[in-house]
Symmetry: C2
Subunit: 90 residues, 2 copies
DNA sequence: TATACATTTAGATATATTTCTAAATGTATA
DNA sequence: TATACATTTAGAAATATATCTAAATGTATA
C-alpha cells in the first residue's frame, strides 16, 4: 500500500464510482455490487484494489462485510497535487 | 482528454516523475528522456499519454519540442478529491 | 450439524499498457 | 539539396488489468 497503489486504484472509473458511493456512508460488498452491472466477483476484485491502495477499509459484521472510505490517503494525494501545482504560480 | 485520461496518466510512476521535472520549468523531450533509463521512444509515448490527459502541453521551437506542465487539470482533480473527502468530516 | 447466505479466491480469457527496435517526420544547416 | 539532429510513429513482444464462471470460505440459523 503506497502512493502508486492509491493512484492506480483511483484511475479506474468503476472504482471511483465506488468511492463516490462510500462518501454517503459505509456499505456492504453486496450493496456496492448492486450498483453495477458486473458480477459480484468483479466488484470484489475492485474492492480489493481499493483496499490495497488504502482508499477503503473493510470490517466484517456477521454475514456482511462493510466497506468504508479512508480519507487519510486522499490527503496525501492532495498534498502531492498542491506541490505539483506550485506555490509560486497560483 | 478528460478526467479518466488525466488520472490514468498520473497513475504511472515514470509519468509522475516527468510531471515533477516539469515543475521546475519547461523541458525538451530529449532533456526529459535523459532523466530515464528507457528509450526516447518510450518516454515519447509517456509524454503523449500525459498530453492526452491534459497534464502537459507541447510546442515546437525549431528542432526541439518543449513540454510544459498544465495545472488547470490538476485543479479539477483536486476538486474531486476535496468533494470525496467531504466537507462535514474534516 | 446441515443448509443457506454473503463474500472472496482461483483460474481462464480478452483487452490494455509498457517497452523495445526500426522507420518516418520535421527542422536546421553545410 | 543532401545530411544531421530531435522527435514521433508503427509494429511487435511482454506484462498487467478487467472480467467472467466455478469453487472455496466464513457466518448464521433451521
Amino acid at each position: 500500500m503506497g502512493f502508486q497503489e492509491s493512484l492506480k486504484a483511483m484511475s479506474d472509473k468503476t472504482r471511483r464510482e465506488i468511492l463516490n458511493l462510500l462518501k454517503n456512508g459505509d456499505m456492504t460488498a453486496g450493496d456496492i455490487a448492486a450498483h453495477f452491472s458486473m458480477t459480484q466477483a468483479t466488484v470484489s476484485h475492485h474492492l480489493s484494489v481499493l483496499k490495497d491502495g488504502g482508499l477503503v477499509t473493510d470490517r466484517r459484521e456477521g454475514k456482511y462485510i462493510f466497506y468504508e472510505l479512508n480519507t487519510s490517503v486522499i490527503e496525501e494525494i492532495m498534498a502531492w497535487l498542491i506541490e505539483l501545482k506550485g506555490v509560486d504560480k497560483q
